[in-house]
Symmetry: C2
Amino acid sequence: IPWITAVYNQKGGVGKTTTAANLATALAACGQTVILVDLDSQGNATTSVGGLYNQGPGAYEFFTGDASLAELARETAYPGLRLVAASRMLAGLELELSEQDSPQFVFRERLLSDMPSVDHILIDSPPALGLLPVNALVAAHSVLVPVQSETFAHDGMVNAFFSLKRIRSTFNPSLAIHGVLVTMMGTDATSKKLDKVIRSEFADAVFSAVIPRDIAVSDSADADHPVVVHAPQSPGAQAYMEATREFLHREADL
Amino acid sequence: IPWITAVYNQKGGVGKTTTAANLATALAACGQTVILVDLDSQGNATTSVGGLYNQGPGAYEFFTGDASLAELARETAYPGLRLVAASRMLAGLELELSEQDSPQFVFRERLLSDMPSVDHILIDSPPALGLLPVNALVAAHSVLVPVQSETFAHDGMVNAFFSLKRIRSTFNPSLAIHGVLVTMMGTDATSKKLDKVIRSEFADAVFSAVIPRDIAVSDSADADHPVVVHAPQSPGAQAYMEATREFLHREADL
Ligand SMILES: Nc1ncnc2c1ncn2[C@@H]1O[C@H](COP(=O)(O)OP(=O)(O)OP(=O)(O)O)[C@@H](O)[C@H]1O
Ligand SMILES: Nc1ncnc2c1ncn2[C@@H]1O[C@H](COP(=O)(O)OP(=O)(O)OP(=O)(O)O)[C@@H](O)[C@H]1O
Ligand SMILES: [Mg+2]
Ligand SMILES: [Mg+2]
């Protein structure tokens, strides 16, 4: 049975998509079979692994029950990694779900009725705590919380963990914290201070791997490749490879 | 009657809050009377002008009709600038609104019933196109769209303008485009290329003022001051002052 991880933070622009795409690709490079699911109607995870946004069935059709996750998962250029792509239809899905009974469980129910035989399922979500991120958190075994070492992102951590506790107590008691990953780490004093503050507040939950701010990462987004493929020797790519190894170690303990 | 501007982009982390806070403070410094409204339950706009998050009535109480905007607007340390603060209650507001008739018009109706006598109302919203950003766009005379010169943010512009057209045709035909403001501009080739692409696609809508990526901006967030106050000689602050002058020029033409 696959291990399901939701990448979540309601704060915008903290590196959720960049983390989901690079982790998925690096896990596949380590020989794991992975399905990356893009629940964000912006479709950034889809394009970041070279997928086509808004073309053909994908995550929306999984919610509506038109096909199983395995049927919707498309091959990518990276062996072992398949993608369930985003489309513009996802933008209206939250409203559609809110009219159903138990709207928080739709993703999980569909998955349980036809579980794909892969090692990992990674789910990227939009910012905010709407029904799509909630569906991902309810279906997941663990949650990975990317955070920038910046003030607003740090302030948001309190709210993020507040929401995770509520999800755990009302919908998914077995949701484990896979960890907190510091991203876009700067070299300035404020960044370093906030990294320390985050580590003192969240202790062992914080990955020792830290993703530096690295031009190669934003360049790779422009090239429609994850940085671990586009610039494997770059500091950003090396850090994501290290974070992936740590991700697997942590999973063994969950 | 005040000029109402919504700061909007469904892409996360593009500088919506930083732009709303600095524009509001700089407008006040130019002698305008301003109310900054924080509709994001994360409360970043609230703290960035030194306000207290989740303490006392604010934006939530405006929606529920408990008090007028003028009554809820708190003094800040900056003469001419008052704040309608965010609270955690905003997180549940979208669901509450969705059960009402014409949920998109609540903010506008409340405002029309008791319009404060100030020059400007600026509204910061969370990422995504939920009912709170929609309420801001329906009540606004104009919309300011911050965008990073990065691939995902650029990709998101198509969706953002797609949503704005829909808002204009279904709810608020007089919503004008105040402009597109490029933020966190880097000095690398990809940033420069994307800035050119954005200018070729959005032409005159793009502000000539460009906000550079500047450590002083993220430091100011940590000091609970907008950068125009915290480090007025910094490149970031100077650019926000220039953008504010351009904002006023553009408004005269709308
Ligand atoms: N380590 C890094 N160094 C430099 N740029 C980065 C890094 N990680 C991410 N970025 C860039 O920062 C921006 C935000 O990252 P990303 O879009 O992955 O965040 P997100 O949390 O998924 O955003 P959203 O909230 O909109 O879904 C993107 O333009 C991305 O290319
Ligand atoms: N010009 C700049 N230079 C450096 N850092 C900046 C700049 N503008 C904003 N930032 C930082 O980038 C991060 C994102 O900015 P901000 O929070 O204002 O974006 P947002 O669009 O409001 O995010 P959200 O989608 O979560 O509401 C913040 O940590 C902020 O301090
Ligand atoms: Mg994303
Ligand atoms: Mg914000």
